[in-house]
Structure formats: structure tokens, C-alpha cells
């Protein structure tokens, strides 16, 4: 068995054993979906934009993946606090493989949570425009999850405790989320917001998901994919670089 595989497996096993994590992971996005979807639905429709719930589903899926992949950094905090990190750091394996194994595990659990939101959306009436395109959605979710999980490993490497991590987490994740077009279309926003959104990689993940799920796009799928790929590579490099200097 491979080191990356066993560390990946560890994250996945831990996820499925913590039932409360699964409930919590899906509960919050569900609240967003129901409260915003039904709450703003009428206004959105009156503005001539169509079905808001349908518009919102891809954004909320991306949100779920963003938040839960970022949570992987908190797992590193736990590993520091409860000592398991030392077990991996004295082992004869490269830091890169330790980082990748954990981050891919964290990414996998994030994608599972994103897809859970998708299935719940189906129950409340959401239908993708093309069932085959859902596979492309899955690829986009995976890229987003991997890049964010690597990013959070990088952050988790140099932050010392959970409080510090939470502070950075909130400082970064909420702007990434609220300034991404996950909740509103970017077509008619003020120029400053559009510019901010254009520099936010999260916007491209949301846009790509919207394109594959409901056929609406702001940037175009090709551009979305390129930005996502570059982001993934850069953040993977960031994670790998920071993780080399991690101390137990």
C-alpha cells in the first residue's frame, strides 16, 4: 500500500466515523439554500431573472466544497494538538507525500459533501440541464476541493493553534465566498465588485458549475477551466512549500 493512499484513507475513514460532521457539513448549506432560495426567489423572478433556487444550487455546492476543504486545515491543527502529526513527521517519507495524502483525503470528503448538497437539491426539485454534464461538474468540484485543501494545508502548516486558524479562515473564506457570484449573477453588479470577482478564483469555480449544471455562464467554461487549473497548481505548490517547514 502507498503512503498517499493510506493517509487519504485515514481522512475518509475519520469523516465517515464522525456522523456529526456529516450532518453539520450538510446542515449549513441546506439552510442557505432554503432560506435564500425561497426567501429571495420571488424578488429574483420579479426582476425577470427566472428561478433563483436553480441559480443558487451550483453556488451552494461550491460553497460547501470551499468551507469543508478549508476545514482540512483545522484537521492539521488537531493533528498538531493530539500528536499524530509527529508520527508522520518522523517517518521516512517525504513531506510532499504526507501533504498530498492528507489534502486529497480532505478534498475527497469535501466533494462528498458537495455532492450530498446536490442530491438534497434534487429532492427539493432541482434538475440539471444535462445529466452527463454532472460528471464535468464533479471534475470542477474536485479541482476546487484539491486546490483549497492544499491551500489550507499550507495555512495549517504555519499557524500554531485552532484560534489562529479560525481567524485566518474567516478572514479569507468569507470574502472568497461572498465576492464570487455564488449568490448573485455577476452580469449587472457595479464595476468594483465585478473587478474583485474577476480576481477571485472562486468565481470561476462557481461559474463553471453553473455552466455545466444549468447552462448559464459569465466567463465561459474554457476560461473557467484554465483559471481553475492554474489556481490548483499554484495552491498545490504553496501547500507543498509551506508544509516542508511544518513543525510538530
Amino acid at each position: 500500500m502507498n503512503v498517499i493512499y493510506i493517509l487519504w484513507l485515514r481522512q475518509v475513514k475519520r469523516f465517515f466515523r464522525a456522523k456529526s460532521r456529516i450532518v453539520g457539513a450538510v446542515g449549513q448549506p441546506l439552510l442557505f439554500l432554503l432560506a435564500l432560495g425561497y426567501g429571495l426567489g420571488a424578488v429574483y423572478q420579479r426582476a425577470g431573472q427566472g428561478n433563483y433556487l436553480e441559480f443558487l444550487v451550483p453556488g451552494i455546492m461550491a460553497q460547501t466544497v470551499l468551507f469543508s476543504a478549508m476545514f482540512y486545515g483545522a484537521m492539521i491543527m488537531f493533528d498538531k494538538q493530539f500528536g499524530f502529526l509527529k508520527e508522520t513527521l518522523v517517518a521516512p517519507v517525504s513531506r510532499l507525500r504526507i501533504m498530498l495524502g492528507g489534502a486529497l483525503g480532505g478534498a475527497t470528503t469535501a466533494v462528498i459533501q458537495g455532492m450530498l448538497v446536490f442530491f438534497i437539491s434534487l429532492v427539493i426539485g432541482f434538475r440539471p440541464q444535462n445529466w452527463l454534464a454532472v460528471l464535468t461538474t464533479l471534475v470542477i468540484l474536485s479541482l476546487l476541493a484539491i486546490s483549497i485543501a492544499c491551500f489550507s494545508s499550507g495555512i495549517g502548516s504555519f499557524v500554531e493553534d485552532m484560534q489562529g486558524f479560525q481567524a485566518i479562515n474567516q478572514f479569507l473564506v468569507f470574502p472568497l465566498y461572498f465576492l464570487s457570484g455564488a449568490l448573485y449573477p455577476l452580469d449587472h453588479v457595479p464595476a468594483w465588485l465585478r473587478i474583485v470577482a474577476e480576481f477571485n478564483p472562486m468565481s470561476y469555480a462557481v461559474d463553471a458549475m453553473r455552466d455545466t449544471l444549468i447552462g448559464q455562464t459569465h466567463f465561459g467554461l474554457a476560461k473557467d477551466f484554465i483559471v481553475l487549473l492554474v489556481t490548483t497548481i499554484v495552491l498545490m505548490g504553496f501547500g507543498a512549500y509551506r508544509f516542508r517547514h511544518i513543525e510538530a
Binding site: 464522525a18 493530539f82 499524530f84 502529526l85 518522523v90 517517518a91 521516512p92 517519507v93
Partner: protein
């Protein structure tokens, strides 16, 4: 026991900022030896173990483990030792067996070689019947036993034990030393440990090093140390060498960080 050195420190110094945690320390331990490193809190014991186990790099000097330079041939050095840390380092969400299995993969043991070894070691530490229990349900003593079994899994040349019996009852402490002695005899393993229980060092160690203020101030068997200090047992010899004042000196940056963590967990 052969004369061949398995651990060698040559003029090792470690500074954290302006604090010198370890100052020009040199000594050797022989293959198969049971070696105790003693010293008051903040003397440099943990930093020495951290340098030997690749967790921190020395500021200067050379550390050699089973013939491998610890800073230059990290992975080879890592393969040659097992360690039981002062605080638990097992994954509580995984079962005892899964923790062992994960360790086997980290040390690239094949499943075929790992399986019988895991069974034998879990039987040795009397946890085979609890192998499928998540470790978070284990007591402190059970966790420590599991960590010892895990540290031995990949047939290390050296087993590091950083205060292995801290907080354990007398029965468990005796058991632990029985396991360690048995494995040492069977596999000609070197055991390097730190402890505050001097009677444990006296009963188990072949040789003892005493470190204080980052410097090695004495090295020898209990007999040699008592003779040198004209005392009758190790505890008296130790106090004669390190003095009787309680140490309230600043702890190292690593220890300070860990203390903060612990305080937080208890809150």
C-alpha cells in the same frame, strides 16, 4: 553488547533564538545498550531527542544514527529508529490495528511482512483482543502500550522513549519495561530513554548521561556515577551533580508552545 556506536553526537549545539538549549554535547551509545538521559526540566533532554529524531535541526555539530548522518541522510536515519513520544501520538479515531497498519505503510513494510508482526506485537503488549477498538476509548496506559508496539513495528535499531512511564501506575510501568527489555534482547536493539524516575534508570539503564543547562555533565553506569560523587544510589548522585534547587528557568520555545496547547486543552 558490542562496542560499535549506534548513536553518536559530536559537538552538538542547538539554539532557539538567543536561548542555547543544547551546548556542545558529545557522547556515544553502543549497540544493544539501554541508555538513560537524565536532567532537570529544561535541561535539553527533549531537544536532544528531537534532534536525534529529525524533528529539529542542530545549529551546529553532527548527529549519527546507525551510521547515517541525521541531517544529511534523514530518511535512512528515520528508518533506523522508533519513538514513543512524551504525549500520545496515535490517531484516536482509528482502531489499534489501523494505527499499526498505517505505521507499517509509512515505513514501507509489505502487508505480508506487516501482518504477523502486528499480531505478535499487539499480543506482546496485550492489546490483540482490543485491536478493533478505536484508540480514543483506550486508557493512558493502553495508549502507551500501543505506541510501544507501534514504535517496534519496523524493527528499529534504536528505540527512543521520551518519559515513557510518566503518569502510569506501577503495574503498567513494570509491564512496559518488561516488553522493552524482552524486545531489546530478542532484536539486539538500543534503547535511549529519558525519565524523571531515577529508580527506573537505576534498575534498567546500562549507562546514564546527565545533562544540565544544555551541557552533558556526567556519563557512566550507576556504579561509576555513585563512585564519582561518593554517594550510595543514583538519586543521590544525581542531586549531587545537578543541585537541589527547583528549576523555574524559562522553558524552550517548543516546550512553551506545547504548554500553551496543553493549557488550552484543559480549559
Amino acid at each position: 553488547m558490542s562496542k560499535e556506536p549506534i548513536i553518536r553526537l559530536e559537538h552538538v549545539t542547538k539554539k532557539f533564538g538567543t536561548v542555547t538549549a543544547v551546548n556542545d554535547v558529545s557522547f556515544e551509545t553502543r549497540r544493544g545498550e539501554l541508555f538513560a538521559l537524565l536532567g532537570p526540566n529544561g535541561a535539553g533532554k527533549s531537544t536532544t531527542i528531537k534532534m536525534l529524531t529529525t524533528l529539529v535541526k542542530p545549529t551546529s555539530g553532527t548527529l549519527t544514527l546507525a551510521g547515517h548522518n541525521v541531517t544529511k541522510a534523514q530518511d535512512k536515519a528515520r528508518k533506523s529508529f522508533g519513538i514513543v513520544f512524551q504525549d500520545p501520538s496515535v490517531d484516536g479515531e482509528l482502531t489499534a490495528y489501523e494505527n499499526m497498519e498505517l505505521h507499517a505503510v509509512l515505513y514501507s513494510l509489505s502487508r505480508k511482512t506487516a501482518r504477523p508482526r502486528i499480531e505478535a506485537l499487539l499480543r506482546l503488549v496485550e492489546l490483540w483482543n482490543r485491536r478493533d477498538t478505536p484508540v480514543k476509548n483506550f486508557s493512558g496506559g493502553m495508549k502507551r502500550r500501543l505506541e510501544i508496539a507501534r514504535g517496534l513495528l519496523h524493527h528499529p535499531h534504536v528505540l527512543f522513549l521520551d518519559e515513557p512511564t510518566l503518569g502510569l501506575d506501577t503495574q503498567t510501568r513494570n509491564l512496559l519495561w518488561d516488553y522493552v527489555q524482552k524486545m531489546r534482547r530478542e532484536e539486539n536493539m538500543t534503547v535511549f530513554f529519558t525519565t524523571h524516575y531515577l529508580e527506573e534508570a537505576e534498575a534498567n539503564a546500562d549507562r546514564i548521561g546527565i545533562i544540565d543547562h544544555g551541557e552533558l555533565i556526567a556519563l557512566g553506569s550507576t556504579k561509576e556515577l555513585t563512585k564519582q560523587t561518593k554517594t550510595t544510589n543514583l538519586e543521590q548522585a544525581y542531586l549531587a551533580l545537578t543541585g537541589k534547587t527547583v528549576r523555574d528557568e524559562e522553558v524552550g520555545p517548543h516546550e512553551a508552545w506545547r504548554a500553551r496547547q496543553r493549557a488550552r486543552t484543559m480549559r
